[in-house]
């Protein structure tokens, strides 16, 4: 992306592009400043990507050879041209990595109308339930209030290598009504299953020779406390 190509775009397209890049520009900014902000953002984005060490992905990009259209594409509205919901009450969760999960949900129109008609209805919220490994032990959970218009969130999950379920609730005064619950997902481990000290010397050396350091894999400590255990209602 260069200044000539940005100058070829309408001011609306420039703002759309800025929005896509995560720039919060004041409305009715002069065109020259919008272009300048975009160029800076592109430069930073490019440097971040170079520094990310994301080699496999960068290499893969090369086979999708570029054209001018890539840059024009970037200025288009990213919203899909298909219906964005299916009018159902549902919540799904996908574990993305050891810390984050993508949660998306929907509430059927009839159900939402009924909720809104109830004077006790205050909000929707997600209850993130950590599935307990041992039976009989109370599940830990925390709650996140979501907006009526929200339909997806990225949630930080406190523990790697653990199983979670996300429930969608409506708050009705002091009561809560369960609307939907997700399947159980498990966050992947970020720490080795066995600490190097627990391995025999040869196995520990081979693990190290395999690139533990370059992958920034950390060995399991004797005791690994939850990172934000305080966020849980035990």
């Amino acid at each position: 992306m260069n200044v000539e190509r940005l100058n070829g775009l309408s001011i609306d397209a420039l703002y759309a592009l800025a929005d896509k890049m995560g720039l919060d520009l004041p409305p009715e900014l002069e065109r020259v400043f919008v272009v300048e902000a975009l160029l800076e953002a592109f430069e930073e984005d490019s440097e971040e990507r170079k520094a990310s060490g994301d080699a496999a992905v960068h290499i893969e990009e090369k086979k999708y050879s570029g054209s001018e259209l890539d840059e024009i594409d970037a200025s288009l509205d990213a919203a899909p041209c298909i219906e964005c919901r299916y009018n159902e009450t549902v919540v799904h969760v996908i574990a993305r990595d050891p810390e984050w999960a993508f949660v998306f949900w929907d509430v059927k129109d009839d159900t939402f109308d009924e909720l809104r008609a109830n004077p006790a209805f205050s909000c929707l919220f997600l209850r993130v339930v950590k599935e307990s490994a041992s039976e009989g032990k109370a599940a830990a959970s925390f709650e996140v209030v979501v907006g009526d218009d929200d339909d997806h969130w990225y949630l930080h999950l406190p523990d790697e290598g653990c199983s979670y379920r996300v429930d969608l609730y409506a708050r009705l005064g002091s009561r809560s009504r369960l609307l939907a619950h997700s399947a159980i997902v498990r966050t992947p481990r970020a720490l080795m299953a066995d600490s190097l000290a627990a391995l025999d010397a040869d196995a520990a050396t081979l693990a190290t020779l395999s690139g533990l350091a370059s992958l920034e894999i950390v060995q399991a400590p004797e005791h690994h406390p939850s990172r934000i255990l305080g966020g849980f209602d035990e």
């Binding site: 080699a55 990009e61 090369k62 054209s67 259209l69 298909i82 993508f102 080795m192 081979l206």
Partner: protein, 529 residues
């Protein structure tokens, strides 16, 4: 005396970009460029090695979408037409550069490349690249693997066993149709593994795959040989482990071999440099600038100041890089062998096939030189993964963790703000497809055709290429449209079946357009009990 084994694993994959409704289509060039710069040059490498009786062997995963496109007569004809245009451009370039000592040999080099490609593709192989690969498969040189039907990033679909089974079954069926036998190896798209995926893989007779180093080292329990030997899942499925050092030597965009200043620069292309009235007939729709494949500059260094590419200098550097690669593998193997209790260390080096030639122009030459020089050393032996399994069947039992080779090592590339909207639709498609397969388990005739087309649309929507492209900002509109089309087509079928009306004409048109997986069986989406 072998210090170590090296398994070279190439993953050849492109998404399904066939667009018969248009006279030409920008994204179909991905196939033409890969054929010209990677697949055909690699076949020439294999032929030369055979002719010189150099022992060579490697693993090659051919994705079902690529397999389908390579076997498609429309795309084969379009490729020949494209080659004719490239040869015409090369002739013009030879004339244009006649008085330029630096560029004249390069224009001639491209003229030779495209002329040779035209001859090999049309005359030598009769358009049948799959047949050419099968020739080396049968000779035992290439250990062919299959991959996910549309290269779905499997961990995202782990809650939908029907969708995982469909990705595997369609791939296996398509491999059998192409190569006349069942595959034993399965390339996990993006090396996206999750615990439990070994069960459906085994159920379809698959025996091995490759996992990321991260996934293996985080496996439970921790592998006792690091990445230097595969692990066996409890059900017997073998997971080979990517070797970080061997792959980084080639993979790293900044310090890997392809970044050497003397190699050909990938980005600088006459498609962007020359006036549109000259280059117009060879770019998209005569007006959209795109890569033409004619690149005259060496990487040189950061910045825009480039020196002309010198192919002879680059060839010498290829030898240096092969020597360094082999030397480093010997050192690495010797260091590991001390801790392996007499077992020979294995270093698995998986790469995207299109890296070799398309991006790294000298890549095919590097592979050729690798086998030629390795032939003269007794310290490194190349093996295929099937061969290794036969000779070393006993492996430490462990289940690799969910991981991938993408940025961050997990699923972040295929699930982030630019592409997360996809999953609401694809999950719904899978649920509805399962519902249809349950409601109509024994259909035949027209209704079976409709259901099979619905299953194709689900698979097409699952392709990991679309979220990848959305994230990369490359061909984003195209990627978005592929998903939207698949969702729209599927929903129309769903509604037709719910209303008990089927538009035959529309269905026939759709079957012709999305003609992948002709033998698909929608019943694979029946609920797994």
């Amino acid at each position: 005396m072998d210090s170590g084994y090296v398994a070279l694993v190439l993953n050849a994959h492109l998404p399904f970009v066939r667009q018969p409704d248009y006279p030409s289509f920008l994204e179909e060039r991905w196939l033409f460029e890969s054929l010209s710069e990677t697949y055909l040059p690699l076949l020439r490498v294999f032929a030369r090695l055979e002719a010189d009786k150099v022992p060579w062997k490697l693993n090659l995963a051919v994705s079902p979408t690529l397999e389908a496109m390579l076997g498609d007569s429309l795309l084969q004809q379009r490729y020949v037409d494209w080659l004719d245009a490239q040869i015409e451009l090369a002739e013009k370039e030879v004339a244009r550069c006649a008085d330029d000592d630096a560029f004249r040999p390069l224009a001639a080099m491209y003229h030779e490349l495209y002329t040779k490609n035209r001859e090999d593709f049309s005359v030598l192989y009769g358009g049948n690249i799959i047949g050419a690969l099968d020739f080396y498969f049968k000779k035992g040189r290439i250990d062919l693997m299959t991959s996910g039907a549309t290269s779905a990033f499997m961990p995202i679909y782990r809650d939908y066993p029907e969708a995982i089974a469909a990705q595997i079954e369609a791939a296996v069926v398509s491999f059998r149709a192409a190569f006349g036998r069942s595959p034993s190896g399965f390339w996990m798209p993006q090396l996206g593994w999750y615990p439990g995926v070994e069960e459906p893989l085994s159920a379809y007779g698959l025996q091995y795959s490759v996992v990321s180093t991260r996934g293996a080292l985080l496996g439970d329990p921790t592998p006792r040989s690091g990445s230097y030997a595969p692990v066996a899942c409890p059900n017997g499925f073998t997971a080979f482990i990517r070797d970080v050092a061997a792959t980084e030597a080639v993979w790293s965009e900044t310090s890997g071999f392809p970044a050497d200043p003397v190699y050909r620069d990938f980005y600088r292309d006459i498609g962007f440099d020359l006036p549109l009235d000259y280059i117009g007939p060879y770019v998209e729709q005569q007006q959209i600038r795109t890569f033409t494949g004619f690149k005259y500059w060496a990487i040189t260094g950061p910045g825009d100041q480039k020196v002309p590419y010198d192919a002879e200098r680059a060839s010498l550097r290829v030898e240096d890089h092969v020597e360094r690669f082999l030397r480093d593998r010997v050192l690495q193997a010797k260091a590991a062998a001390k801790h392996m209790g007499g077992r020979t260390p294995l270093m698995v080096a998986p790469y995207d096939a299109e890296l070799f030639g398309h991006w790294w122009y000298e890549g095919p030459q590097w592979i050729e030189t690798l086998f030629r020089l390795a032939h003269h050393t007794d310290e490194i032996q190349f093996v295929t993964l099937s061969e290794y399994m036969r000779t070393s069947p006993e492996n430490f039992e462990s289940v690799p963790e969910f991981a991938s080779w993408g940025d961050g090592g997990y699923g972040g590339v295929w699930l982030e703000k630019s592409n997360d909207w996809i999953y609401r639709h694809v999950f719904k498609m899978i649920e509805r497809m399962t519902e249809l397969a349950e409601r109509f388990p024994n259909e035949s005739g027209l209704r079976e055709r409709v259901l099979n087309q619905a299953a194709r649309e689900v698979l097409l929507a699952q392709a990991s290429d679309w979220p990848f492209l959305l994230r990369a900002g490359k061909s984003g509109s195209f990627a978005r449209k592929q998903i939207e089309d698949a969702v729209t087509n599927f929903n129309r079928i769903y509604e037709m079946l719910c209303a008990n009306t089927v538009g035959t004409e529309w269905l026939t048109r759709l079957e012709k357009r999305n003609n992948i997986f002709p033998s698909i069986n929608y019943r694979v989406f029946r609920r797994k009990r």
